[in-house]
Assembly symmetry: C2
Homo-oligomer: 678 residues x 2
């Protein structure tokens, strides 16, 4: 847009601060209006804070969005996605284009309703489910300190900046996340709280009376405040946060929807378009005389200048990286995914198990696998939500990661399952780290939405879920997973592994680490299991990983096949015993071990039909055995198959008594099969 005749030629240096910030406001209100859906309030309220952050504090280079030493910016209040899209566009990222922004919230536009890390560079993580952005940022800040400890200030020296709303602070996960950050003294984590006193239902006073600053201080945070519309005050507060030796909360007092004269400061502007009339008035009030989606040249140039601020720093960093080829190799190696190392790492262990079978719990087998994996893959960082000795997640190679030793590789996450899961997502997305962490399978419920976000974000996180059935025994129904294994299988892009013995456990671990775009949940027993595998495994290699097909025939029928037994985990040995009894009666029975349904689903039809020929149950009866809900198993057993499972809550008692009580015995199962095949 040209300057009016007679006016001085505009250039970047003449773009006023308010013009820069108003560009965000204009794009936000116009995009939401055009989509007729979205959240204008937050971006309009936080435009000034974001402008100060991007113009003077954030280390970034839009021309190299993957630069390892960039600052991470996390929009935890993800519903305000237009703030992120405006910033990315204005500072010069290749995407989103103005066309993408015009198509905000439309199919095909990378400008989705909430920011998606897999759609846009510069979006460090997927946010929207409240509280998790901030909690992922904690993981990013841990990753930074850990890699700094490994590679020094020259190569790793960045910050994590978060914009969070009242919702992010009110959610329970906030307590877990800030407790962990305070404990680990993550001074490079700075949270800019959009303190606008408004939530969807109305003012925050409807539902909370908390002194948030005092709470953050109680957990070891530095807290400061600023007027979120006064650039100088914002600058002062951000500098204070940057320079503090603790994680910092900056309470930015803002007016939600600032600029919309009638609606600003109300919940009405939170999640609805302003409407054409109010937008016209806002343009007037803001002095923004430009048409929708047009940014005048002088303002665009001002933003581009900000976007170019970091280039020199990035080039200097690359120079340092390239100065020493050994150091460069070490850095690159030390921040790679490790996928190719996993298979070879377990070779020796499996060969040994083949020679000398072990009757151990799969949680113990997991510890054995982790022992060799963490030895071979220095990027793996483990931890547990206060169940280290039960989850068997700690290995010799992993010293504690603490405020005094960021170089450690084991995190005592405390009793914070959700916080742990989100932190692991943050570490994985930061890059350079392959996180795994443990809790009881039942408490996957506590972190379920973060598991879902691992899957949605394609983040390589491995969940070590032990105590995976009534086999945990006496702790009773509150602790006995019944529906959890199946319910994790429902999450797209999550591989759920339930190995049956020590060898399968090592195989599943190798597969988990070998899939950088798919997170994994390992469901492991508390109780010992006999080793089912070993034959043919003495020369095991990644290419002979039988679990890689998700399901395989562990034992073929000897008599004419009348039955196919399908089982997972602790029920595979039971299936084998059932098969033996059937064979003794002259009835041929295959035993199929199914450690990972998702991988089985990926196999070709021929492989599937070989295991599960599509014939009527009268010809071959399919029987599933799993100590959990049966719903879902009909996919493989068909409607007239037989499903042995547990469709009620468990009970408190020794494991053997429970398996007996609930019918997981040869004597209980064989008659049901005989009855069906008669």
């Amino acid at each position: 847009m040209g300057a009016p005749a007679g006016a001085p030629q505009m250039n970047s240096t003449t773009a006023a601060f308010s013009d820069l910030a108003n560009a965000i406001r204009a794009l936000s209100m116009d995009a939401v209006q055009s989509a007729n859906s979205g959240h204008p309030g937050m971006p309009m309220g936080m435009a000034d804070v974001a402008t100060v952050l991007y113009s003077e504090f954030l280390k970034f280079d839009p021309s190299a969005p993957d630069w390892a030493d960039r600052d991470r910016f996390v929009l935890s209040a993800g519903h305000g996605s237009m703030l992120a899209y405006a910033l990315l566009h204005l500072t010069g990222y290749a995407e989103p284009t103005i066309e993408d922004i015009r198509n905000f919230r439309q199919l095909g536009s990378p400008c989705a309703g909430h920011p998606e890390n897999f759609l846009l560079d510069g979006v460090e993580c997927t946010t929207g489910p409240l509280g998790q952005g901030l909690a992922m940022a904690v993981g990013m800040a841990i990753a930074e300190r850990h890699l700094n400890a490994k590679f020094g200030d020259d190569l790793v020296d960045h910050r994590t900046w978060v914009v969070a709303g009242d919702g992010c602070l009110m959610e329970g996960i906030n307590h877990e996340a800030i407790g962990l950050a305070g404990h680990l003294k993550l001074s490079r984590l700075n949270v800019l709280w959009d303190d606008n006193t408004i939530t969807i239902d109305g003012t925050t006073a409807l539902s909370t009376s908390e002194d948030i600053a005092a709470r953050y201080e109680a957990t070891g945070w530095h807290v400061t405040r600023c007027d979120g519309h006064d650039p100088e005050d914002i600058r002062r507060a951000l500098a204070e946060a940057r320079d503090s030796d603790r994680p910092s909360l900056v309470a930015c007092r803002t007016i939600i929807g600032k600029g919309a004269p009638n609606k600003q400061g109300t919940s009405g502007v939170h999640g609805s378009p302003l409407g054409p009339d109010e937008i016209a008035l806002a343009r007037e009030q803001l002095g923004w005389e430009y048409p929708p989606f047009e940014i005048p040249q002088h303002i665009a140039a001002g933003w581009r200048m900000m976007g170019e601020r970091g280039k020199e720093t990035r080039l200097a960093w690359e120079k340092r990286l390239n100065a020493d080829s050994d150091a460069r190799a070490a850095f690159e190696n030390g921040t790679s995914s490790g996928s190719d190392l996993a298979g070879p790492a377990v070779e020796h262990l499996i060969a040994e198990l083949a020679r000398e079978p072990q009757k151990v719990a799969t949680r113990k087998a997991s510890e054995m696998a982790l022992g060799v994996l963490t030895e071979a893959i220095p990027n793996m960082i483990g931890g547990s939500a206060d169940l280290t000795g039960s989850n068997n997640t700690k290995t010799k190679a992993t010293d504690p990661l603490t405020a005094d030793n960021y170089g450690g590789r084991y995190i005592y996450y405390g009793i914070r399952e959700f916080g742990m899961a989100a932190a692991m997502n943050g570490m994985a997305l930061h890059g350079g780290i392959i996180p795994y962490g443990g809790t009881f399978l039942i408490f996957s419920d506590y972190c379920r939405n973060a598991v879902r976000l691992s899957a949605l974000q394609q983040a390589q996180v491995t969940y070590v879920f032990t105590h995976d059935s009534i086999g945990l025994g006496e702790d009773g129904p509150t602790h006995q997973p019944v529906e959890q294994v199946m319910s994790l299988r429902l999450i797209p892009n999550l591989n759920v592994y339930r190995p049956c013995d020590a060898i399968e456990t090592a195989e599943c671990w190798a597969l988990a680490i070998a899939s950088p775009k798919t997170p994994a949940a390992l469901c492991l027993t508390r109780q010992n299991l006999p080793q089912m595998r070993g034959e043919g495994d003495a020369d095991w290699s990644a290419s002979s990983n039988r679990s890689a097909k998700g399901a395989y025939r562990l034992k073929a029928a000897e008599n004419t096949r009348k039955v196919i037994l399908l089982a997972t985990g602790s029920e595979v040995h039971l299936a084998s015993e059932v098969a033996a009894k059937l064979e003794a009666e002259g009835i041929g029975a295959d035993v199929i071990s199914m450690p990972c349904w998702e991988l089985f689903e990926e196999q070709d039809d021929a492989y599937k039909a070989d295991l599960l020929p599509n014939v009527s149950p009268d010809e071959i009866l399919r029987v599933s055995i799993e100590a959990g809900v049966t719903l879902g198993w009909e996919r493989y057993t068909m409607a007239n198959g037989l499903n042995i499972g547990l469709d009620r809550f468990g009970a408190s008692g020794p494991a053997e008594d429970l398996f007996e009580k609930f019918g997981f015995t040869v004597d209980a199962i064989v008659p049901q099969i005989m009855n069906k095949i008669k």
Copy 2:
């Protein structure tokens, strides 16, 4: 056990405080030892605090465990269940007997690993999943204040006492629970924190540096401390807590496993038996010379005396209750379950809908049903986790429940899904209240374990989960449920309803409120749906509730039946359109609406076979249509049926575009069916 010859005759008045407390310690260490599993540390550490609480503060009467005005005692640190069992036994509850305690953690004993409300009177709620006991106590304290506002001090005047551990305080839900309690100024809620600085992994310093007192104070709590082994100091602190006008946290500094000379004060005593040697030494140190499971008469008598303390108060309360038969009727009526009122309450609404069909979202239909239900059933208390206008949970009859108006019936829970769900469990278990609360279906993930506890505890809670599929549109994959409906169906004893129109919604609401032992999850649309029902519903009554069978034939095939279409919620009208198209091609197709799988499963074989005859797909093809994962549908469609669903994450865009993109259209579905039945 008789007194030794020559010794003075022991009687209750001579039982020293330490003897009383040591009875708890002895029973706890012996029961855990005998079970060879369990948690002796907490009961031994908190024995002194519990003794003071039961002897001087708690209002209870073991001979009337259901007394409506009793204090509620919640053992939030449920792993220390022996504390509860010892207290119940010693104070004279009919159960557990000493035999039950001998069989601690064995099948058939009511002394389960964690306390189960459905096994023992005096166990107010099921605990073990950390943090939720305290959060349920918040609900109980809300219930008390609300009923007090309705019925006055004469009839409702009790407290809620909680024993919580470090885990309960570290979990995220703690933040939500105490934030709500502080905001509502629940002064009758007192939390006794077992401040022993030990978690499973070791000292609390491994994972937290928080100033817990400061945090509680920041959320409006009164905080005091005491030496948890000094009766006088405990007494002082409990009195302070009782008398405060805010909810109180009492930090009881204790030694975990106190009495076990070598193991006390370490994490080794948290969750393992002490072993016979250490138990022998503990007996010595405690001066407890009695054999396992024997409580000498004078100590038993001392405890019985405590148990009788409340009888008089209870009798006086009953006298007040019975003094006025109208007041008594009002009280009893006002605290009943309301199950019989629900059906009649929606009659008129349904008849009206039958006359004048409405195209509304089922969330809106839910609001209509709630309008008449909350009018007819004064015990219903609603709320939402900051999505009131989206969940449509507020009705004319429900004023806000606030610190200034406990008589209100609508709770602004704030952005606290997990805290809301747990509070609702607490309210339902307290009795006298029928709670319901809303959030987006996707955030059922955030409160999933509390939903599970509703089911396990048989608590009448209704979850209003709106925005139940990609039909919510532009908010994108973080907000679009894909696996949630199915995953809720996996939870035992939870009725999951997904109604297809305004009439079915009212029917499902009536069913939800009519099942006092089974919680319900209503999955409701954001988008408008055409009304499918109406024919034959003009004289609707509870007995003609078609949803009560879980599934029913909405439309019978006109041509020879070759296809059965099964659908729920927003896909029922699509199924009808598919059927119409098939009929036009001469292919007969039934349409089955399946609003509640769990209720369908309860029907007899004849009913099921009528809807779903067991014939081969070549004869009749079964097709499911649901905008969510397909896994699970094979139960009804059989392996060679056809499942139309969404086995991936959604996308951001307008709802119609998404349904089109993901194949939920007549044009996309009909060819697949034709192809199959060829």
